[in-house]
Symmetry: C2
Subunit: 349 residues, 2 copies
DNA sequence: CGCTATCATGACAGCGCTACCATTCTGGAC
DNA sequence: GTCCAGAATGGTAGCGCTGTCATGATAGCG
């Protein structure tokens, strides 16, 4: 602005690629009266330069309105402060809460989130992973331990932290989650202890939401041990209040003797509970209802929903903390973290 | 792999920076028997190279397991296929639904989302914008039309599309949203028409959630026109079922003659409705309740919640489509899109 | 006072890719 | 056969930044 023309004194270069009014670090350095590399250090490693240098650089940054080009920085350093987060769904608030936990912890440390959504499709996951590796992300967070082989190979050869969340198990690298089979067992035991003997498990798209199917496995194990049948009703719409209402109707039609329904999640359970109310059914007198997740909704309906509380935001925060610890070079970490769960007994069972 | 050592024939370079086992485009080109630039074109502009060249490049990519370095590509082309999305909150499902709409449309076009959360803090927003501009994002989506001056200046000088969503108005560039004042008016009119005269508006943190306060403005206007008082109760916890229950209690205590409560959103309204049920209050007989958003929850409680349906995913999809259109160079677009809203009358009023 | 350890700074090269221009090669019009 | 349009390909030179090493300045030691 003040100078006549900034490229008048660069006679050698025959052509400019892009005039690109963007302020560069070199310009900042020039204004500050230091070399570009010192300007770089002043911004990235402030403790490595003298006070005076740092001050003049910061002042130049301010006056020029310099915005660092992170793309160039990442290319040069092959570090990006970008964390890839891949989830199967954004409709399901559970994943959003995990993202929230990740987000607040990672942003505080100056990391940004690159968000990907697989829609429960492992091939899509592979594509996303490829793209994200191309961004030389510092780490990758993915929901679940199951991946297709291409994805597995790609990640196995990747030399950055990988964090698999939601479920507990032998992962590729780091893992923060809970034991879904145990959660399923826990609820089944509760229902049995309450005296229910005709119990139906209702889930939605279990092939995709395989964690729900792991809970069913636990549920089935327990009932089998007790010598009881464990019928399963699978809905083919994704979990929602509406689907829960339909689930209730189908159970009543197909299994009229049912005393209790163990829903794969709280959305379904709450939907069924509200539908039961609309139909004048007594919960738990006519039918008991249990869910999974501990969504706020379940705590506000009457009767309060019996559910299993999973610490979702906490899972995100813990995962983020472990990643940060790992990324700061500390090797002291546990590969696996069990965040546990809590049976929350309401009036619905 | 097949060759002895790829860097044996680069004798001039004294030192290697990082050995970086990463496969580069040059290696792909070498294997494919073409120049690097042709390999680049084969991947980015397939129609610009011959069939044979394209085939051999793709085959080389496959066999080497090449993953393009998007950071380098972005630096060279100053395009990134990254879209910054900045929202004030992830707890509020409304923003998540907009993100979902954006996400599914943008991912289909090969764009990735860089997600930022301001926690309703405009200074934080500015920081995020700075960071995201540093990634040379192709475009930026932000919730709302209000920004601090630094942010405004920064964005005004930025030469990429900016999309402001959620509320309708004179934005910086593109805008997709709805008229919140009109929505507030709409609901107030409905309540008046239903015969209610003692109506309290209940919101949470209106200074932050200023869109809720715009709805209150509309609400107030209408009641003023009718010559009625428009008391406001502001909660200082964020919108949630719990807060709604508290809001109900406070209204009953402070304004015992209240006939109807106009809540700033469905979370609050549903929380109040469920709380009313727990307390044996008749809705709408003892107290009428209305919300805003049209969350599924409101449609499943009994009585069904009267609310205003806002097309949130649709807003995200439309915003994404407009951005894509703009990014593909088409200049034919409307700067402003009103997605409208629908009054949904349930049994709660 | 000379020697080495430490700090602050700078020169250089290069991260992996693509924009730009130049070149070659084809095929058709005349 | 000449000329030119157009397609396919390649060479060169960066994009803006930071890792690596080298240098100069300062301090610490016997």
């Amino acid at each position: 602005m003040s100078k006549d023309s900034p490229n008048a004194d660069s006679p050698t270069t025959a052509r400019q690629r892009r005039s690109s009014d963007q302020v560069t670090l070199s310009q900042v350095a020039q204004v500050a009266g230091v070399s570009p590399i010192t300007a770089s250090r002043a911004l990235n490693y402030p403790e490595k330069v003298s006070d005076s240098a740092r001050r003049s650089v910061l002042q130049a940054v301010e006056s020029l309105g310099y915005v660092p080009n992170l793309v160039a920085g990442s290319l040069a350093s092959s570090r990006s402060r970008l964390i890839a987060v891949i989830v199967p769904s954004l409709i399901n608030s559970v994943f959003v809460e995990v993202i929230k936990g990740l987000q607040e912890t990672l942003e505080a440390e100056g990391y940004q989130i690159l968000l990907g959504n697989t829609d429960y499709d492992l091939d899509r996951e592979y594509q996303l992973v490829r793209t994200f590796l191309g961004w030389s992300c510092s780490a990758l967070v993915t929901a679940g331990l199951r991946h297709n082989t291409a994805c597995h190979t790609l990640l196995a050869n990747w030399d950055h932290p990988i964090m698999e969340v939601m479920e507990l198990g032998q992962g590729m690298d780091l893992n923060v989650g809970l034991d879904h089979v145990a959660a399923g067992r826990c609820m089944a035991n509760h229902l049995f202890d309450k005296g229910y003997r005709h119990i139906v498990y209702v889930g939605a798209r279990l092939a995709q939401d395989y964690r729900a199917s792991m809970r069913f496995d636990g549920h089935k194990e327990v009932l089998k041990e007790k010598g009881i049948d464990a019928p399963l009703l699978e809905l083919d719409t994704l979990g929602s209040l509406q689907a829960g209402a339909e689930g209730l109707a189908q159970v009543l039609a197909q299994y009229p003797h049912t005393q209790a329904i163990h829903f794969a999640n709280d959305d379904l359970a709450a939907g069924a509970l509200l539908a039961a109310q609309r139909q004048g059914l007594n919960v738990p007198g006519d039918i008991a209802i249990a869910g999974f997740n501990g969504l706020p909704l379940g705590q506000h309906v009457t009767p309060q929903l019996t559910t299993i509380l999973s610490p979702r935001e906490e899972m995100g925060r813990l995962a983020a903390k472990e990643l940060i610890r790992r990324l700061s070079g500390k090797n002291v970490y546990r590969r696996q973290h069990d965040v546990g769960f809590t049976l929350q007994i309401g009036g619905s069972t």
